[in-house]
Symmetry: C2
Subunit: 497 residues, 2 copies
């Protein structure tokens, strides 16, 4: 071999699918945010703000959301070994749960590896939860715990992609985990447009259109991703919407990937959460339609992102294919036990007979959900007050995904640079306001439209402060790029009414 | 589309690389063990034993190893929110650590996502640990926390494999995570034989031979896996061994993948742990040799397998390639914070000035390591007493990997069945003795030789009991398959002396 050859971990020699993958939620703007945070922490006062407000990701406990007392009490009890049980005082109702969980985790040994799918006793708790929710029995053999829902999504996509033609339909806009992972596993994704003018509603005709176009390309469409409530859109699906999807997928033998991690985050009364599982079970495809559903402890009113816990339910998947999932899980031994325990706790909240423990849990839960709803409405109103910005009603999840007017001059400048206008905008928002958002291009957006995703998780005070700076920045941005007032008026008229 | 087409999650349509991957540590025998465990738990008394002893994996806390008091105290303190801090009593020295860690995790918010590589404050602690160990400064920007070392290995292999020709040299026998992951990412692995007759020593000539053969095949050899102390072999590398590898890899621009998760598990005095990093830093390749090293909280005297924590250190990897690793980490947001915290604790044990906390930690650590050493020796002696079994000296790690005599009749029978003699043997050991081991074919073994891997982690009482049953089973196995006494004598003479 020539000694002049490159070392293997060099841009040109590494896996090019990694190089060309994109994941905007932790992309260049987020990276810059970490740098600014580090500089601020070291006393740098050269920024026009004193802290970075990280709205790039749904990370509730980073802000003022407190963990549920019950969860943290139970987990402290489970992890303290017998020799230390005396050092903690927990309500006796909590200790009942601690003892029940101890039995499940190898008699008080949470520090050991579990079954690769997760402890069977904990999976049984999840199974009961799904049964209560949907009204149909669940076999825990079809449940897999994972380090956050994301890890489970990876396993499924790795399984589904068998060639470059293996194609997954994803919403546009979509949480970029899907597009990134499909790319990493060398498969193909094709978008179906969500209907922004109809509050980001799902239109089955758009799915059919996308499916047909993919077939015409010679692609092998094997699955479709549905995120409900939507990320980044915040839209909730109606039952009839879901029925349409089930009918279409049943007819065409398409696996439904149901990302339902925001199932507790719904802020409107007229669209209660309906699980894909329940609709499939009530459909004529109940004995064949392949469905994989996800839930997580990172969202809802729990927000335990740092624990990395979640589960995946396989439905209508044969034993032999399930064993392939088991193999994939086994290669990494098991998901973390604390995440498994917390997922089980999510699935068995305290019951009325637990007295004060129950009351406190319900109080905390109620307050968290109410605050999320109030903040969603506040952010929506705040954004819509800004000229050139239009934000749909936030029905669920943790995000706003507003559209904004982009001045032609900025578009032209970026065309010359080969850069993206919404990334330039997002970087400006970060550098000038200390607000970290994610440009719409990271999720996919209608050609010629511009968006960003931001969370409503900071405190009201923080949101008030940072979005005031944001409004000023945007006004200046429009001015700097000589936005055409008449065009802006027309935009306002077209999108806001 | 024809309505008769198969659903996508069907044996023939899923990713065939998953179907053909093998991971014996959690393979068919382990699966059968879970079934037996479930049956025993439900009161089935039809087995000739009352419990399954799971020696298929290094899972110390499943048996009598207790978690370190200090670790569990600190973690309980860190995870309890402010409102619950009064409910626990911890020594004041422990509280100092709790407060220091609180500062690092977003001011007492361990429930939030961290930076995708892990909290910078925790990475700084790891950097200091490596500096103390090796004597050279470490930049925390090159450190990545992961959910166990395995998850980090996956990221590296995914990065290294760019085509079917991308080839990783692995020891034979090898911990099958490597061969399984290489297969899943559609790369190629080639084995280099460890020298069983020389206590599983590493022979640089075998590496060169394997490398040349791979080149002759037209393969692109980009890296080599070295596990030190060895898994499954338990062998420890001498410094000169490591120097040979560094020289070879430096000359040929091969990335060294140093799996050093057993660095605290060494039971002989003449082979202290030497890190690859320290040898590279003292070599003429220190400014170019690409090295990736792993450490974990699952092994050593810590054994916190269930927490899934570990780190990966990149060395001589450019900023742009490092950012590709960051992207891969980012797609899953971050590794679990409890695992990150525990990894940091591993890297900053209590100091002398912490009085009783320090003393207790040192006592527990000393007792655990002494017990592991005693058990290693006990298992070694126990196995070597059995006719037809030869076990090398266990210098480190958590396993024995003995060779055993396989009667020709069993080999012939399996040849007819298309099965593997050592799997048939392992299944018999499980069904008759309740001992779960892993057949040598799962790790790779010299053609015509037969081995199994087993841990020495159960209590002495349990080991005594289960290996007595094992000895009886093996004697019967030899008899049932009409083992040739003369050949067995010759085998004993050849391998045991």
């Amino acid at each position: 071999m020539s000694s002049s050859k490159m070392w293997p971990l060099t841009d040109k020699r590494i896996n090019q699918s990694v190089v060309t993958a994109r994941f905007a939620v932790r992309g260049s703007i987020t990276k810059r945010a970490w740098e600014i945070k580090a500089a601020l922490a070291e006393g740098d006062t050269s920024f026009p703000f004193s802290q970075v407000v990280s709205c790039n990701i749904g990370n509730p406990q980073l802000f003022d959301q407190q963990p549920l007392t019950y969860f943290r009490q139970v987990l402290a009890g489970v992890w303290l070994p017998e020799s230390l049980q005396d050092s903690i005082k927990l309500p006796k109702e909590v200790m009942v749960t601690v003892k029940a969980l101890h039995k499940i985790v190898n008699n008080g040994k949470p520090g050991a590896y579990s079954h690769s799918q997760g402890h069977i006793g904990l999976r049984k708790i999840v199974a009961k939860f799904i049964e209560r929710r949907d009204g149909f029995a669940v076999d825990p053999v079809n449940l897999f715990f994972s380090d956050g829902a994301s890890a489970g999504v990876h396993k499924l996509l790795q399984m589904l992609i068998n060639s470059k033609k293996s194609t997954v339909l994803v919403p546009t806009p979509v949480y970029p985990l899907y597009t990134a992972a499909i790319h990493l596993y060398n498969g193909t994704s094709r978008g179906y447009l969500l209907d922004e003018a109809n509050n980001w509603g799902l239109d089955i005709e758009e799915i059919k259109k996308s499916y047909k176009a993919a077939l015409a390309e010679g692609l092998d469409v094997n699955s479709i991703v549905i995120i409900n409530p939507g990320n980044p859109t915040g839209a909730c699906l109606s039952k009839s919407n879901i029925e349409d999807v089930v009918e279409f997928c049943g007819q065409n033998k398409i696996v439904i990937i149901a990302d339902e991690v925001y199932q507790e985050n719904i802020y409107v009364d007229n669209k209660p959460f309906v699980s894909f599982k329940s609709v499939v079970m009530n459909s004529k495809y109940k004995n064949e339609l392949q469905l994989v559903s996800y839930h997580s402890i990172s969202k809802g009113f729990i927000g335990e992102c740092g624990k990395r816990g979640g589960y995946m339910e396989l439905y209508n998947i044969s034993k032999s294919v399930r064993e392939e999932f088991y193999k994939l899980a086994g290669v990494n031994l098991c998901s973390n036990i604390d995440g498994q325990l917390t997922t089980a706790l999510m699935c068995m909240p305290p019951t009325k007979d637990m007295g004060d423990v129950y009351k406190l849990y319900e109080k905390e839960k109620g307050e968290i959900l109410q605050k999320l709803k109030d903040k969603a409405n506040y952010l929506n109103a705040t954004l819509n007050k800004i000229r050139g910005i239009q934000c749909n009603n936030i029905e669920g999840a943790m995000y706003a995904f507003p559209q904004f007017y982009m001045p032609q001059e900025c578009i032209d400048k970026c065309k010359k640079d080969g850069s993206k206008p919404d990334i330039l905008f997002g970087m400006g928002v970060l550098n000038e306001c200390g607000l970290c958002i994610v440009p719409g291009s990271g999720f996919g957006q209608r050609e010629g439209s511009y968006h960003f995703r931001t969370t409503f998780l900071p405190s009201f005070e923080k949101m008030k402060d940072v979005y005031a700076r944001f409004a000023k920045f945007y006004a200046k941005f429009l001015k700097d790029f000589h936005a055409d007032e008449k065009k802006l008026d027309a935009w306002e008229k077209k999108y806001k009414n």
